[in-house]
Amino acid sequence: MIRVQTDDFNPGIELEQLRQENNGQAGAMVSFTGLVRDLNEGDSITQLTLEHYPGMTEKALTKIEAQANKQWQLTATLIIHRVGPLQPNDNIVLVVAASIHRKQAFQACEFMIDTLKTNAPFWKKEALQNS
């Protein structure tokens, strides 16, 4: 499943949901959470805005998920990506892969976030803001 949203998400609720649906099938669930880093330690904070290409974004993420499911034996996959204004330490992205096999879950999760970083039409715009 894929989701693109301005609202925050809760990785814990998503993982618990996937676990409930798992029903004893997969023994391994690997998640990647991307967070907004706070690059400035002084008296200014980073203001981050994530722009995307509505329509193409969903197609790109759906394709990434399909590629992972083709290449590895997965019982569930999930990609959630936020857009819009973000604060330091905010969740940006969540990628989850569940599998019978631990190694496959790791490989699929890493493949999805690596491919997302190079192929999905998101653009970060950072701006310093004096507090």
Binding site: G34, L50, E51, H52, Y53, G55, M56, K59, H81, I92, V93, I113, L116, K117, T118, N119, A120, P121, F122, W123, K124, K125
Partner: protein, 83 residues
Amino acid sequence: MIQLRYFASLRETLGIGDEQIELPDNVSDLPALTRWLQGRGELWQSALADKRLHVAVNQQIVPADATIADGDEIAWFPPVTGG
């Protein structure tokens, strides 16, 4: 008509996010369309000359010499930085 879209820093440089135009005469591929747009002036000339730009036709990344047709949606954008 074709739909043109510009994203991120390119949109800011050009001061426009999207537009609909008639497919210009004798334009059937990306290089020809880019040259046509660059004819709009210095700003367009230099902005679209950036070799790092990606182009998507109908929401799929395509090579720089891809063909285009009436009804297409064509988007230019800098390297993606999501995740």
